[in-house]
């Protein structure tokens, strides 16, 4: 197990380096939001999800939805490394005519994408529909939606949370990338200091709080969807925006800032990824 976790952590470092390089090369933002959810994506795609990249629309595949669509640059790197499409496709990121926008396209346009997100509060409710559809059709697949703490401002997030609990949608898990920042300020200053985990619990979800950068804990918790409680599962993952690079960590300027060539080099040195 330790060796496996070590490999996942190494994969996460490589993905982080690629995201930072890509941000510099293509001059695209949302770097810090991507870095905060890399470990979650790696745990899901490289260990937990029952998926086959050669059959991206397989009927009983697990569905992972990046509801925080502004983390697309991270998802694109993960899907390429996982084998959904050649990594060379990413050379065209952001170019005219490319499918790699700053948010995921509709599933028809890129293998591995389950939902076009970017407008917050959409992906998780879509995932609830997919989870209910699985139950109606006697399928055993699970649906995991990754939401941001800023996204928990959206009313539709809580509409979905209520219906999922009422319907005992146990094949559905939500993982909150709780990095304590939203685009322009501290999450608790903007929409109040009430416990996020407490909210999910109050809405009827089986809720736990974990270190969102502890790969072993991420794998263990994500594997417990469904967890046998008859309730949907909420994992509030405490994360650090800009995680992995000392000069980006918990500095919200990196929501929109683009790294210079020197900063890319320094970041890769810290990550232990060759230049």
């Amino acid at each position: 197990m330790d060796a496996k976790i070590g490999r996942l952590e190494q994969t996460a470092r490589i993905i982080r380096a690629r995201i930072i390089e890509n941000s510099h090369r293509t001059q695209t933002p949302h770097l810090a939001s991507c870095l905060s959810c890399v470990d979650i994506l790696v745990a899901a795609y490289f260990e937990v999800l029952r998926i086959d990249p050669s059959k991206p629309t397989g009927k009983n595949r697990d569905r992972f939805i990046l509801s925080k669509g502004h983390g697309a640059a991270a998802l694109f790197q993960v899907l390429a490394l996982r084998g959904y499409y050649p990594e060379s496709m990413l050379d065209h990121y952001g170019e005219d005519g490319s499918v790699f926008a700053e948010h995921p396209p509709a599933p028809a346009y890129l293998p591995g994408i389950e939902a076009a997100t970017g407008s917050l509060g959409h992906g998780f409710p879509l995932g609830l529909g997919m989870a209910l559809a699985g139950r109606i059709q006697n399928q055993t697949y699970r649906v995991i939606a990754l939401v941001s703490d800023g996204e928990c401002n959206e009313g539709s997030t809580w509409e979905a949370a209520m219906l999922a609990a009422a319907q005992k949608t146990e094949n559905l898990g939500v993982i909150v990338d709780f990095n304590k920042w939203q685009a322009t300020g501290r999450s608790e200053e903007i929409m109040g200091p009430v416990s996020l985990a407490g909210k999910w619990r109050a809405f009827g979800w089986n809720t736990c709080e974990i270190d969102g950068h502890d790969m072993g804990e991420l794998v263990r918790r994500l594997q417990q969807v469904p967890d046998g409680s008859g309730k949907p599962v909420a994992i509030v993952a405490h994360t650090v925006k800009g995680k992995g690079v000392s000069f980006m960590e918990d500095d919200n300027n990196w929501h929109y800032r683009i790294p210079s060539a020197e900063e890319v080099k320094a970041a890769k040195r810290e990550l232990g990824v060759p230049a």
């Binding site: 959409h122 409710p125 879509l126 529909g129 209910l132 699985g134 539709s156």
Partner: protein, 311 residues
């Protein structure tokens, strides 16, 4: 129309296990039969329409044929972005049903009027916009909608509307139906205005003006073949809808007409004014207020026809 919808969706749900019905805490008892026959395919999604629309899209992307039902503003304007992104951008075959077309719920106030839905929904790529004139078109349209691989919006009335078609017409989404032939003028109607339009035709006939009547049950895609034919043949075409004059059927026909070479057709557009109607009143009162009566339509058509013919 409401009861015909409930009856038809119950039949379709019995024969097609992909059909799922989602309701926004409305239709008490209306769907009891559907629930009895397919309890695991009926979802009361509560008073949470944005989520309901996304859930329907997620179901449609997973092989089901969800039908979303609530009062028109709540299944259109309330959750417009969910329709735009989750349904239309994903090309999810969701059937969206809005009950209480136009001024059907006039007495409930502007929150419950639906006078912008045709304009909004037809602006979305991939969306079919359907407004049946009676329960015969409703049943045929619902069956056709569930055979489509893309989203369909259906705008239906309330209950007790008269039946227009005395037998099954040839039906296809996107193809208008000729209700009555006529020589001098063409009246085009969509949705629940048809009884008024037929009465207007009767009044015109008595004045010696023979009026053809067309049911444009589909606002999008627009039946441009039929439009070419009627604008080529008649000196005046009148379009009637229980919807704002901005952007509805009249709007879409005017857009189309402006780009046509060789058609010198004149049109008249009947619909509601660019205001919120705050006074309480019945549907008939509200229609009178906006000139959506047989008498007014006949009078305006006949006066315009005289001017057009004199020119």
């Amino acid at each position: 129309m409401r009861n015909a919808f409930a009856d038809e969706i119950t039949r379709l749900g019995a024969s097609d296990p992909r059909v799922v019905l989602l309701s926004g805490d409305i239709g008490n008892k209306l769907f009891d039969k559907f629930k009895q026959q397919a309890q695991n395919r009926f979802y009361n999604c509560g008073v949470a329409e944005a989520n309901m629309m996304s859930v329907a899209a997620g179901m449609a992307l997973s092989g089901l044929r969800p039908v979303v039902y609530t009062i028109t503003p709540f299944t259109t304007t309330r959750c417009f972005e969910q329709i735009r992104v989750d349904v239309c951008y994903h090309g999810a075959p969701v059937v969206i049903v809005g009950t209480g077309a136009g001024l059907s719920y006039a007495e409930l106030g502007p929150t419950h009027h639906s006078l912008e839905d045709l304009a909004l929904l037809r602006s979305l790529p991939g969306m079919t916009v359907f407004a049946p004139c009676d329960e015969v078109e409703l049943r045929l349209g619902l069956r056709a909608a569930l055979r489509q691989d893309h989203p369909v919006y259906m705008r239906i009335g309330k209950k007790g509307e008269p039946v227009i078609h005395d037998r099954q017409p040839d039906f296809q989404l996107g193809k208008a139906i000729t209700i009555r032939e006529g020589e001098h003028v063409c009246l085009i109607s969509t949705g629940n205005m048809m009884p008024v339009v037929l009465d207007a035709g009767n009044i015109l006939n008595k004045k010696g003006v023979s009026a053809r009547v067309e049911s444009f049950h589909t606002v999008k895609p627009l039946d441009t073949d039929r439009l070419k034919e009627v604008f080529g043949r008649y000196p005046l075409v009148a379009v009637v809808e229980e919807h704002g004059r901005l952007g509805g059927l009249g709007g879409t026909i005017a857009e189309w007409l402006a780009s046509q070479d060789g058609l010198s057709g004149r049109m008249l557009s009947f619909g509601t004014d660019d205001i919120f109607m705050h006074e309480v009143g019945s549907q008939e009162y509200a229609r009178r207020k906006f000139g959506l009566t047989a008498e007014n339509i006949a009078e305006k058509v006949s006066a315009r026809l005289e001017r057009v013919s004199a020119a």
